[in-house]
């Protein structure tokens, strides 16, 4: 279980040693083990920064993260991140990119190829093990990013707008594939996204952020039945789905107009 406890963070602009520009203000929430939570909000609301705080890449100015009671001080092997720009090493083949995480987690050399291949299979890219990233399409690259994360068998998966760099149709296919993949496993997922539809479709719970400074506006429980990937078109056309979307959009619209107008 992830506990975010009164996290505040900001940065000091270059040249101005005194003032701090606030990015996150007093963020607190909890994520139950095994649940899928989305962090949704406009640009500048600090959700990306928050994800990195949870991972341990950033130490917040105030507050802390606790995972199963232990305070997070730096990245650890029980969690893995998937990035919007894929961040694959261009000089490694697909299979070697997947092994990258295993290497850094000190998994014994003998075990790495098998685990990497298994992850590769899970994302459906068995034939592309010896390709280089520049030979793959955007969607394929992200699958590799996902495989890299999954190969390390993390209890917690942190995803930073993972489908943001893909075109809309591929994006929706990837959402389906993600759900299919995660169905069989019990992992805790925290996903950062811009897309209302994506948040509703994928998550159990959506935490909605406002910007300037980043703070929680509200939390919405998504009460749609699982598995959702089999009947995706039905679900997306359902009135419940549409109602959620309306609700969230109103909230965000207000927030955006408020900040744009101000």
């Amino acid at each position: 279980m992830i506990e975010v406890c009164a996290v505040s963070h900001g940065f000091v602009p270059v040249g101005d040693g005194e003032s701090v520009v606030p990015v996150l203000k007093d963020i607190s929430f909890a994520v139950e083990a095994g649940s899928f939570v989305s962090l949704l909000g406009p640009s500048g609301c600090g959700k990306t920064t928050l994800l990195r705080v949870i991972d341990g890449l950033i130490v917040p100015l105030r507050g802390e993260i606790r995972i199963d009671g232990a305070v997070v001080k730096k990245p650890a092997t029980d969690r893995a991140m998937v990035f919007q720009e894929f961040n694959l090493l261009p000089w490694r083949t697909t299979i070697r990119n997947i092994e990258f995480g295993l290497e850094l987690h000190d998994v014994p050399r003998r075990e790495r190829p098998a685990r990497a291949r298994a992850a590769l299979q899970k994302v459906g890219l068995e034939r592309f093990g010896h390709y280089f990233p520049h030979e793959l399409s955007g969607g394929m690259k992200q699958r590799v990013g996902l495989a890299r994360a999954l190969a390390t068998n993390p209890r917690i998966l942190l995803m930073d707008e993972p489908f943001g760099a893909l075109d809309p149709q591929i994006r929706e296919i990837m959402q389906l594939d993600l759900l299919k993949l995660l169905d069989a496993e019990r992992r805790t997922i925290v996903l950062v996204t811009h897309s209302i539809d994506e948040a509703i479709f994928l998550s159990d719970r959506i935490i909605i952020f406002g910007a300037n400074p980043g703070r929680i506006l509200t939390t919405i429980e998504v009460d749609l039945p699982r598995p959702r990937w089999a009947k995706d078109e039905e679900i997306k056309a359902s009135s419940t789905f549409i109602a959620y979307r309306k609700q969230i959009w109103h909230l965000l619209k207000q927030e955006l107009q408020h900040t744009e107008g101000a």
Binding site: K74, P75, N87, F100, G101, E103, L104, F132, P133, H134
Partner: protein, 281 residues
């Protein structure tokens, strides 16, 4: 029965097979033919201008004389001691340049403070005529291999430092962040991200350094040498043995070309993705 249209692979157009052989040869080997023609024109003009007396043989040898002399020095084996002498200097000078230049470049690339501190000194020495250091090096290290290797080192190391630093500081920070998110230590970041990412730049630096090292080897043999290709060149010049002079020049130039080609090949092998990056934009 379906008709098959014969396509000319190079042009993508249907072509009647009655076109002349020569035209076909030309089209498929354009680059090679024009290069060959340029060669012939260049060497032909050179040969003629010396043979006809337009240029005094005191100052320029004809290609045929040079080839003849090349054959002679290799046939009687007299050239090997000079190749070995210059080769040893070049080898050690280059190895030291890389051994010192890469770590310094990496350190400067990773630490802005170090870079800002060292940069003015490095730029100053980089821009100075290295020849000026030779007398100083002779006083410190004598006239043997050491002072020559030192001068070759000075010639090559700064190119490598500059290129390595550029490579290291231009790496995608997101990759470093990714490695950190997978719990990488500083050492792991260095060896798994920084060095592989900077490798194309490092190789480019090495390619440039080879040229400078070779030049410095010749310069170092200007004074107090008893063997080496540079020594051969200077001696031949003093004694107006122009064919010998050009033999030395040709051998050094050939070495430079061969090493350059090799390193370019290495660059391509190590970094195929960079060409794709540049092509796809």
């Amino acid at each position: 029965m379906t008709e098959t249209v014969k396509l000319d692979v190079g042009m993508g157009l249907a072509r009647p097979s009655s076109h002349s052989v020569f035209l076909r040869i030309w089209r498929s080997h354009r680059a090679a033919i024009s290069r060959l023609a340029a060669f012939v024109v260049f060497f032909g003009t050179w040969e003629w201008s010396v043979e006809s007396g337009l240029i005094s043989p005191l100052f320029l040898s004809s290609p045929s004389e040079i080839v003849l002399r090349l054959y002679q020095v290799f046939a009687d084996g007299s050239i090997w001691q000079h190749i070995e002498a210059s080769g040893a200097t070049a080898f050690w000078g280059f190895v030291l340049s890389v051994g010192v230049g890469v770590p310094v470049g990496v350190a400067m690339g990773r630490s802005p403070l170090l870079r800002d501190t060292l940069e003015p000194f490095i730029m100053a020495i980089y821009a100075s005529p290295s020849v000026a250091f030779l007398p100083l090096l002779i006083i410190w290290l004598g006239i043997g291999l050491a002072s020559k290797v030192a001068l070759a080192f000075v010639g090559g190391v700064f190119v490598i430092i500059v290129n390595t630093e550029a490579g290291v500081s231009s790496i995608d920070r997101r990759l470093v962040e990714t490695a950190r998110s997978f719990t990488a230590t500083e050492a792991e970041v260095l060896f798994k991200i920084v060095l592989p990412a900077a490798m194309p730049f490092i190789l480019a630096g090495m390619r440039l350094a080879i040229g400078r090292v070779l030049i410095m080897v010749v310069v170092a043999e200007l004074f107090a040498s008893t063997a080496g290709l540079g020594y051969l060149i200077y001696q031949a010049g003093a004694l107006y043995d122009t064919a010998q002079l050009f033999v030395g020049v040709v051998i050094i130039a050939t070495a430079g070309i061969v090493l350059n080609v090799f390193l370019r090949w290495l660059e391509r092998r190590v970094a195929p993705w960079r060409r794709a990056e540049r092509l796809s934009g």
